[in-house]
Symmetry: none
Subunit: 197 residues, 4 copies
Amino acid sequence: MPNKNSKGNTKNRIIESAKKLFAEQGYQKTTVMEISKQAGLSEAALYEYFQGKEDLLLTIPDLWVSELIKDLKEQLFGIKGSFNKLRKFLWWYLRRIEEAPLDAKIVYLFLKTNANFMDTEVYSNVKILYSYLIDIFEEGRTSGEMKPDLNPYFARTIFIGTMEHIVTRWLLKDMSYSLFDNLEDTFDLMVDAYRSK
Amino acid sequence: MPNKNSKGNTKNRIIESAKKLFAEQGYQKTTVMEISKQAGLSEAALYEYFQGKEDLLLTIPDLWVSELIKDLKEQLFGIKGSFNKLRKFLWWYLRRIEEAPLDAKIVYLFLKTNANFMDTEVYSNVKILYSYLIDIFEEGRTSGEMKPDLNPYFARTIFIGTMEHIVTRWLLKDMSYSLFDNLEDTFDLMVDAYRSK
Amino acid sequence: MPNKNSKGNTKNRIIESAKKLFAEQGYQKTTVMEISKQAGLSEAALYEYFQGKEDLLLTIPDLWVSELIKDLKEQLFGIKGSFNKLRKFLWWYLRRIEEAPLDAKIVYLFLKTNANFMDTEVYSNVKILYSYLIDIFEEGRTSGEMKPDLNPYFARTIFIGTMEHIVTRWLLKDMSYSLFDNLEDTFDLMVDAYRSK
Amino acid sequence: MPNKNSKGNTKNRIIESAKKLFAEQGYQKTTVMEISKQAGLSEAALYEYFQGKEDLLLTIPDLWVSELIKDLKEQLFGIKGSFNKLRKFLWWYLRRIEEAPLDAKIVYLFLKTNANFMDTEVYSNVKILYSYLIDIFEEGRTSGEMKPDLNPYFARTIFIGTMEHIVTRWLLKDMSYSLFDNLEDTFDLMVDAYRSK
DNA sequence: AATGAATGAGTGTTCATTCAT
DNA sequence: TATGAATGAACACTCATTCAT
């Protein structure tokens, strides 16, 4: 069971093991011994790579969210129209979550509980990620696609709220259905709030 | 510090103490000893009233959400118009949360992490609470206030998502501003998605 | 289940409850609360009748063994011949144990573990009980039925050892067979050790 | 007092410490902390070697009885005559008990109380140990030394009963005299029960 | 780079017992 | 005679973390 021979170096093995166990059992119930055993090395060795258990919890989504940021710019590149960009953002984000549900579970369920979440690299990176939405809404207003008096921040609240609700529900229901079920309809409904009449 | 003389019986004292400490420090970091000391009795005495720490965690929001359900019906009674009802629901809910931020914190931040959350009384009560929204959206569609093809479930996803996002952000930011800031504008924006043109 | 209405006074109800529970689960695993619940009263009330749990453990077999002593004299009265008396002793003793297996279990399995057993009334009463055997063996030697050089103490060691072994085995095997199985043959074999040739 | 430097590895140190304390104070009254302190290490370290307190209780006599079995065959080897073998068995057994009174105390006083005793490796090993006696009695009958109609099982009941009674009495009296006092006479008396006339 | 061995500090929970009423 | 309420004192067991090798 321990993925001793999986490709990737030791550090990655540890991350993957921790990710899996955190997602499965939660942060508190997962022991360092379980993680190291799963990673195929000793507990002591784990401390050569990470400062401790909490460090591990914070590192995992940090890597993931960093990647997301890098990816997002490229994804939105060349897309014309604010609604199209909005749609792209949503579909892209959910695709990434579907591809990395363990990371998502950690961010959405376990990290928010952590007292230090707000001081986290992850938090500020998520803020960066979500700041793109402000640009999109502003572009929509400027271009006339969206309401002329649209407040981008309020618009974003609705967008993120809806999106995160969809994700959280899916995670809590153990990813037992497709994240994209009814997405089209819900999106169409939501954007009507932004659309200029 | 221990509220030995606070009104209410012992059981309530324990609940209030636990609520406060869970909300302040999180479930895991709070010890049974702290709770009992805060409640002004011995650790052993606490076990006369609750089966244990987890029982306490689950009981607290259970009581709160049960009350909410009782209250909601009355609050919506006599209100005319689906948009008015929607508005009432939102304002009422946020008011209740503002009044009981400790309960809210437990439900929104700590309970969802708990592996057993989905099997909880709280979860099913929240579902009941949110089922009222379906009725409201259906009424809106029927009455012609809302789009004739409005799917109440998708509409609700947006509504709950937005609402919970507002609440969660507020809780994570340590309730440092008013929950009602910008609420009017955000609500107005959101309901445009439902409104028949 | 609690035998609130059983005949006998409260003290007896407590004894019977304790006896049952000690025998079923052992002394250590039985709690005072279980005993008092079984007896149909509160924990605190139990302390009106007994000094505590250990007092209870020691009282139970004390009563039983006291009764045994009273009975034994009568049982042996009028029996002629030392072998007949020996036989009577054995059959009588096993009958009493069969009738009161709970008491027997407590004496044989739980009391011996107790650090204070040797200072117990029970211990000295058992000594009295077993002292009758010395008389019997001496009578046997004097009468010529038994070996002229028979040492009553060594003879008794064999008798008691055999008897207690039979009892202990039966108790450990959960009284799943008759205590009298093969008793006749074993007795006949044993007494050949005493018989004068 | 802690035997940190005693020869033997850590596991053995723990066993010896536990053995001593169990025998002195009983199983229940001995705490894990006492055992580990006596062994010269931390409580937590003890759990690296044993699963817990009960595991320790069961392991101790397990090792001892296993050794006994290995030894017995060798001890009986080369001895001629069933009475001689019987005598050897008794003397050997008591010698072993005299050498390891702590183990004996645990087996005779504390283990039998344990609810799981009958499912124990120790129990089945003791059965093996005692099965040799059946062979001896059968040999005695066949060779003519013993009664032609001697039932080996009944004979063994007397033998084991007597032997265990001698041991138990000695243990309860805190090993304050020699286990071999009067052994010769008692043995001679007992075997007359088996002897063919 | 890796680990066997060890531990300090905790942690929830149990339970016999007491006492005011 | 009875008890509801309370508690002091334990206690077995866990686990993240350290360090000599």
